[in-house]
């Protein structure tokens, strides 16, 4: 296993930046998720690392080797594809053996390695079948197996779970995580599902429009999103984001909504808002930091329930504060109905504040 370093990676298609100066350092044995909406450049980045498409600029190091101009076959990496890319005309055994054959290993070694990998993934009984005779989950295991048989410097995975049904996906998620822990493998994992990234990765790289937005541990990304894009993308349900205007109310700093309501700020938050380039500020709050009251409370904002979504152990509700919806959560036993008036209290210590112009997070101190 090896360290992987991407320095100032650029890929252009005609006049478009598909990957726009992305730099990421991945330590030996680290599991990094590249995450973002479709078209954000994450798969392109992965293909650049694999060498499947030529670089437009920047450097890629795998281990201590500069691999910019190396063919995929010489980069010593393994890759798992979204559609598994199993060779349809070969049996499972031959699929697993293919990478070893290409490296001209002796027949006996090939067989031993294939059987070992098959045993680990519990697919020994499938070895003589062809890919189209396998279920989605089985195909997924074979694809993983083909990556495992060798001892590559890094594993690249391109949305490997997105073709599976929900239940299987959760199961394979923990298996891949286990497999990473056992092998101490360096993994670069592309997904559009932020939940996958948060649950599996040591670090996540959030991308949008070809630009790396934030590269941190999932906990850090969740707690301190650097801008409104990351804030809105990571976490489910999404963080509520409300554009407001900074001002003063009887000498106290407040955020005012054009709909008429306002939120007084703690002195700490008032200092943060003062750092914004203009008076425009975007307020962010996760459902877990919002408290719902059935009667007026000082500092709480009056609103009206729009929809109620019970999920079993927690109930989500969308609440209109003036013209903006925020998502709140309640204990399932609390009775709440649509159109009911409620009061929403913000936790001043856990408010996210963003500059309304630059969309960047306003720093804490």
């Amino acid at each position: 296993m090896a360290q992987v370093v991407l320095r100032d990676l650029v890929k252009t298609y005609g006049p478009i930046y598909a990957v726009d100066h992305v730099s990421i350092e991945i330590d030996d044995g680290e599991f990094v998720a590249l995450v973002g909406p479709s078209g954000c450049g994450k798969t392109t980045t992965l293909n650049l690392v694999a060498g499947l498409i030529p670089l437009s600029g920047g450097d890629i190091y795998i281990g201590d080797r500069l691999v910019n101009d190396l063919d995929p076959k010489d980069r010593d990496i393994a890759m798992v594809f979204q559609n598994y890319a199993l060779y349809p005309n070969k049996t499972v055994f031959k699929n697993l053996a293919f990478p070893l054959q290409m490296r001209r290993l002796p027949r006996a070694d090939i067989e031993a390695k294939v059987l070992a990998a098959a045993k680990v993934l519990d697919i020994t009984h499938l070895l003589e079948r062809r890919p189209r005779e396998l279920s989605g989950g089985q195909q997924q295991r074979v694809a993983l197996g083909r990556a495992l048989v060798r001892d590559p410097r890094a594993f690249l995975m391109d949305e490997p779970l997105s073709n599976l049904d929900a239940k299987l996906r959760v199961q394979m998620r923990s298996e891949i995580k286990r497999f990473h822990q056992d092998l101490r493998a360096t993994v670069i994992y592309v997904t559009h599902d932020q939940l996958e990234a948060v649950t599996m990765a040591d670090k996540m790289a959030v991308m949008s429009g070809g630009v790396l937005q934030q590269y941190d541990s999932p906990a850090e990304v969740f707690a301190h999103p650097k801008n409104t894009f990351v804030a809105g993308f990571v976490g489910s349900p999404a963080m509520s984001l409300i554009p407001l205007e900074a001002g003063t109310d009887a000498g106290a700093a407040t955020l005012r909504s054009p709909d008429g309501w306002s939120l007084p700020l703690s002195p700490e938050n008032a200092r943060r808002v003062a750092r914004a380039t203009t008076a425009k500020v975007i307020l962010g709050a996760r459902h877990s930091t919002l408290k719902v009251h059935k009667s007026a409370v000082p500092g709480a904002v009056a609103g009206k329930v729009y929809t109620v979504e019970p999920t079993g152990d927690i109930t989500f509700a969308q609440v209109y504060l003036g013209g903006h919806i925020v998502i709140v959560s309640l204990e399932p036993q609390v009775p709440i109905v649509p159109d009911e008036p409620v009061w929403v209290e913000f936790d001043q210590d856990k408010l996210h504040l963003f500059d309304g112009e630059t969309q960047q997070a306003l720093p804490r101190n």
């Binding site: 694999a50 499947l52 995929p72 076959k73 594809f81 890319a85 293919f98």
Partner: protein
Amino acid sequence: MSAIADTPAAARPRRRKPIDGWRWAGRGFLVLMLLYTAVPMIWMLLTSIKSGFAAMQFPPQWWPSEPTLASYQKLLDPQNSVGQDFLRFFWNSLFVSSVTTVLSVAVAVPAAYAFSRFHFPGRRFLFFSVLLRNMFPAVIFLVPLFILMRFLGLVNTHGSLILTYMTFGLPLAIWLLKGFYDNIPIQLEQAARIDGATRFRAFLVIVMPLSMPGIIATAIYSFIGAWNEYIYAYTFLTRNDQLTLPVGIQRFFSENTTDFPGLMAASFMMSVPVVVLFLVLQRYFVRALTEGAVKH
């Protein structure tokens, strides 16, 4: 539509709706098409087993009163001058068609693959200029090509035919194969390249076997086209021992204008190889058309 749904008839079970009318019309139509298609072929076979005298009667013998294989024996007898010629023509056709097929596939496969996978500038222009070749009739090219072949020293050789036939087979071959390659996920090659194959090896080991139906279809198309071609062979070849079947038969029967059983037997013999080839491999051909031409 809603007006129909409101009538009581629509409430009745589906099976009793007058769809049957369409079904019977379809069957009737198929019977007519079968007659149109098959009667000439049957008449060819019936005539070919008559004697010359029996064929020239009016009203005709609907069924040969004394069936004979004499015409076939004559064509296949190497001792007889007619048989000698026919077997020679047959061999020439087989040679020209086979070589054309092999070369066409060898040229079409990489070109189709490139058109499918690569995005080099001018790709679309080149693709359509290749397709445009299909637009032009042989006659336009006849004189200049004849002069060109004379310049290359290829007149009266099978090389002139092979070179020419390749170009009329290529456009459709490239088009069909491109459709095939478009349908093979690029991830398969990428996986192979990561697994340690060069780009060319990935193509050879992974992509080629998957495109075999397309390649077979392309080969059939080239073979049949070459086997049946007439104008170039008629123009480029003058020596009797070089002729291919269509021209050879035409030459022969312009001298023996009344030997209809012989003519029908020769037509039948000439059709057998391509018809058999096509019937055996037709599923590849239909599949290639579906994947290559239609699903664009």
